[in-house]
């Protein structure tokens, strides 16, 4: 009798184990881990190197950067800023007709952004593995090619942004605003004052001494003054931050 009772107990315990073991094991296996993956795959390293970027020195200017007209880049960026503004305005609107345009506006923004990103990617100004600092790369390469920094001006951009906002408020169409941007940007973009290349000019790029943050432009080389634009405070044209702090 004792034997049969013991067998019954053992059988019951085995059934119980089968039923409840998975839940207990699942909890036991769920232990805290300090594992933090840090390795980049060999394939990615190879593809990054093949594009001329250095993953171990992210501040270095990549090989083969293209320097296209700043007008093209500015236009592409202003276009996606404008489409984003239009999308945001519609999203915040309580007018059903304006909200009905949301999918179309979102698509326009996605396309404009993808276009601008592709342009900068093709020019090697940005890379998904590298923290983005396209202006620094562009400025250095522009200077190496033309002997002077590109004619970018913060005050001009502020005025352009105001004009775009006003145009959106006035209900102008996308095409009208784009024409307006094109005309204004074309008027703003002045040729570099010293078009001759610097002899042996490397532009000082890729020395790895840069920390990659936006403080660069505060202590970076002073720009060559643009005709008609005195180098006054808040108007340095090269990303000085004093205008909005």
């Amino acid at each position: 009798m004792i034997r049969s009772v013991s067998k019954a107990f053992i059988l019951a315990v085995i059934c119980l184990l089968n039923w409840s073991l998975p839940a207990v094991l699942a909890e036991v296996s769920d232990t805290a881990s300090d594992f933090r993956p840090k390795e980049v795959s060999a394939n990615t390293l190879t593809s990054v190197a093949a594009e001329g970027f250095d993953i171990n020195n992210k501040d270095a200017v990549p090989a083969g950067v293209k320097v296209r007209s700043s007008l093209e880049l500015e236009m592409a960026i202003q276009e996606y800023l404008m489409t984003f503004d239009a999308y945001r305005e519609a999203r915040q609107s309580t007018d059903p007709e304006a909200r009905a345009k949301l999918p179309k506006l979102l698509k326009a923004y996605r396309e404009a952004y993808a276009k601008a990103i592709k342009m900068m990617r093709d020019d090697k100004l940005i890379h998904p593995m590298i923290p983005q600092n396209p202006l620094k790369v562009y400025k250095e390469q522009y200077k190496a090619k033309h002997g002077a920094y590109p004619p970018l001006d913060k005050r001009d951009y502020k005025e352009l942004r105001k004009a775009i906002k006003k145009a959106i408020k006035d209900g102008k169409s996308t095409d009208e605003i784009l024409v307006m941007i094109r005309n204004r940007v074309a008027n703003l973009s002045r040729p570099a004052p010293v078009p001759t290349p610097v002899p042996g000019g490397g532009g000082g790029s890729g020395d790895g001494s840069d920390d990659g943050d936006d403080d660069d432009d505060r202590t970076g080389p002073k720009p060559i003054p643009q005709p008609g634009h005195p180098p006054s405070g808040g108007h340095d044209g090269h990303g000085g931050h004093d205008g909005h702090h």
Binding site: V5, S20, A26, R36, S41, R110, M129, Q132, K162, H244
Partner: protein
């Protein structure tokens, strides 16, 4: 008589010896399920708080906060989260570019969201326009205040973005008809729930395709 008493005593002792551990075991199984429910709650809560942390970072940028910010132990209700705003450089129209990291760890679950953001020049006063383009997440226990960990996250996100870039290039390289037929060809490998609606979904995706 004595023999019977002995057997009865043995049976009682055997019952106690077997049932006490079994009861303990059963109670532990029950509490295990409770703990799993608690863990699920922690996961959900940490993810929501990290998402709110990202939004609070974007709001700070809209308020024209600039430069590196490493903010620890910020509170959302009783739950704390860390926020790091790391400037990476400037864009071509002089906008400031940032990487935002928001981390919330509850119990043994850690959740980090990484976003990128463009902060435009104030026009003329705050709130300034801020655009956040994409958000990446990880459950690995990185420390968002450590430069090495931040670099590791940027690298891993970069790998994912390279994959996304390949997808976008594929999408761009196809005509709308090719794109739609490629999508429809995948119908057989989809879950049953999606199969019935797939043709209409593929139609919408075709309309949304990048075309330039």
């Amino acid at each position: 008589m004595t023999r019977r008493r002995g057997i009865a005593l043995f049976l009682v002792l055997a019952l106690v010896a077997v049932f006490v551990p079994v009861l303990l075991y059963l109670s532990q199984t029950g509490s295990s399920q409770v703990r799993q429910a608690m863990k699920f709650h922690e996961v959900q809560q940490s993810e929501s708080v990290a998402l709110s942390g990202t939004n609070s970072g974007l709001c700070r940028l809209r308020g024209n906060l600039t430069g590196l910010q490493q903010l620890s132990n910020l509170l959302l209700g009783d739950t704390s989260y860390d926020l790091t705003l790391k400037p990476t450089g400037q864009g071509v129209v002089l906008q400031n570019l940032y990487h935002l990291f928001s981390r919330c760890a509850l119990g043994r679950h850690s959740y980090i969201l990484m976003s990128d953001a463009e902060q435009l020049q104030p026009d003329p006063d705050p709130p300034v326009m801020v655009i956040s383009h994409d958000t990446w997440n990880t459950v690995e226990p990185y420390d968002i205040n450590l430069a090495a960990d931040v670099t590791a996250m940027e690298n891993l996100r970069g790998q994912d973005l390279l994959g996304f870039e390949a997808t976008k290039n594929y999408e761009r390289g196809k005509t709308p008809a090719q794109y739609e037929s490629d999508l429809l060809a995948k119908q057989s490998s989809l879950p049953q729930e999606l199969k019935a609606d797939w043709s209409s979904i593929a139609g919408v995706l075709k309309e949304e395709k990048l075309q330039f």
